[in-house]
Assembly symmetry: C2
């Protein structure tokens, strides 16, 4: 299959905050885009921009050579791919599906195998970069699956991201995303505790950041999320509830591999505590509240 704007029909299932921006870039690049979303209103802008609406994932799957999915939880991925109205049951032989949801590596491997049995090729390609990365087409995309298939769909991925890396066989994209989330989790705990310490010690936290952010303590989270903590800005860049989903997948996956991760376990339990306090729809920087409130 040769993918070409103006010729290839691309399906997009899941046009939420991220998916909407991503599908929008495909439209602007000249692709014919066929969409489905659980809540139709959220797809209205894309329809106005020229996307074709379909009433089910099955209908999208039947009409497209390439189908992209960007849904919520592993359970949604499972239904969209493996359900009776799903992609594997309904896509045309030879078509390619790309799951860009952050989901379970094990599920990605299962979908890959079941797809293969039906002549449908599946790539797992979760992203990082959040809503801003999606809007600016600057997502980092980490892909797993067949290498030739990856190369086939690379032109489409390049429309949505700019750091597109093939990580290996099916599930490798999801595994890489888990590495990303694990590193963030440990760092968020460190950043929150450092900022809580600064506050308790009576320091000027912004001045502390000037001393530490350019050195060995430096990180994306310290430079981008610590200032939001200090400004009491807990608006979601990335939701607490979604981060808990990711950390749960990572921990399950690690446990299956026989790997103990006390740091990840701690971060997950702290975020669960935070969610239990009604913060599941706050941004991940709200973890700071746990330290401010509890002390």
């Amino acid at each position: 299959m040769i993918i070409e704007a103006g010729k290839t029909v691309v399906g997009f299932i899941g046009t939420g905050v991220m998916g909407k921006s991503m599908a929008g870039h495909l439209l602007k690049a000249g692709y014919e885009v066929v969409i489905y979303n659980r809540t139709k209103e959220k797809a209205q802008d894309l329809i106005t921009e020229g996307a074709y609406w379909q009433d089910s994932p099955a209908q999208v799957a039947r009409k497209c050579q390439v189908i992209i999915t960007m849904v919520g939880y592993p359970a949604d991925v499972q239904e969209v791919y493996l359900g009776s109205q799903g992609i594997i049951q309904n896509a045309v032989r030879g078509s390619i599906a790309i799951d860009m949801t952050t989901s379970s590596p094990k599920l990605a491997q299962r979908i890959f195998r079941e797809g293969l049995a039906k002549g449908i090729y599946v790539i797992d390609a979760p992203v990082s970069g959040g809503d801003v990365g999606a809007r600016e087409a600057k997502l980092s995309i980490m892909a797993g699956g067949d290498h030739t298939i990856f190369q086939t769909v690379e032109p489409i991925l390049k429309v949505m991201g700019r750091n597109i890396v093939y990580q290996g066989s099916a599930g490798a994209g999801q595994h890489t995303k888990m590495c990303n989330q694990i590193a963030i989790a440990g760092n968020m705990v460190g950043v929150c505790e450092a900022m809580a310490y600064a506050k308790h010690a009576g320091l000027d936290s912004a001045t502390v950041l000037r001393s530490i952010e350019a050195g060995a303590a430096g990180s994306f989270s310290l430079s981008n999320l610590a200032p939001r903590m200090l400004a009491n800005n807990y608006a979601p860049g990335f939701y607490v509830k979604h981060f808990i989903k990711d950390l749960t997948i990572a921990l399950e996956s690690a446990t299956e591999m026989g790997l103990q991760m006390p740091g990840l376990e701690l971060a997950k339990s702290l975020y669960e505590q935070l969610a239990a306090q009604g913060e599941e729809n706050s941004g991940t920087q709200a973890l700071f509240k746990l330290y401010v409130a509890a002390n």
Copy 2:
């Protein structure tokens, strides 16, 4: 006091790996430098470069208007400042001492007070940037104490560092350094667990880094220490034993402030486990070994 190269006599107590480079910069800048170190051989290079050797901290203190200390542990700081052969008992009234050791904020406050009672001004000014930062005069210096005294010694600090920030009253420099170490501690756990996960999942860790280091998981440690872990290079940039010292101070200090830090506690216990395995003289990236060995 006006500090000027060629006129001001600067004492330097503690010419180990860091202190040697720092005192060397002062010599090159034209300061007369008087030194003392517990092990004289380690001071030989500086003596050759023109530094004057003295046989005790007391002798250094008596001869210098400004005395810099860069020793090992809080117990060493206490002895060098508060002992009978120490700076506070022996320095000339009106002189200024700068402790650049990473040490206890509480001890820094005590030394400041005892100094003041004798007419000796003390600044706490720990650094980050490690041996490379010291060698290249690129240290980040975080200072606490009297603001006017800080401004007086700033020209000397500028010879050794380039991100020199006044953080507040006595102890504020040490408190800021604790924030730095707390942030690093959490992040090191995250980075090690992410790399251990990558290894267990059968990913190519270097390729994983390509996907994740430029995004939200990005950090100094991920970019600089993870590659060393993957290359089995555990040579010390920063020693495990010194990191444990710092985390111990941070945890004691937090406990005094009534602040709970489960992430810091976990990191400290993991590093202590690592030290117990004979790794206290390895670099902090050796924490990775705990995950590779235990799993």
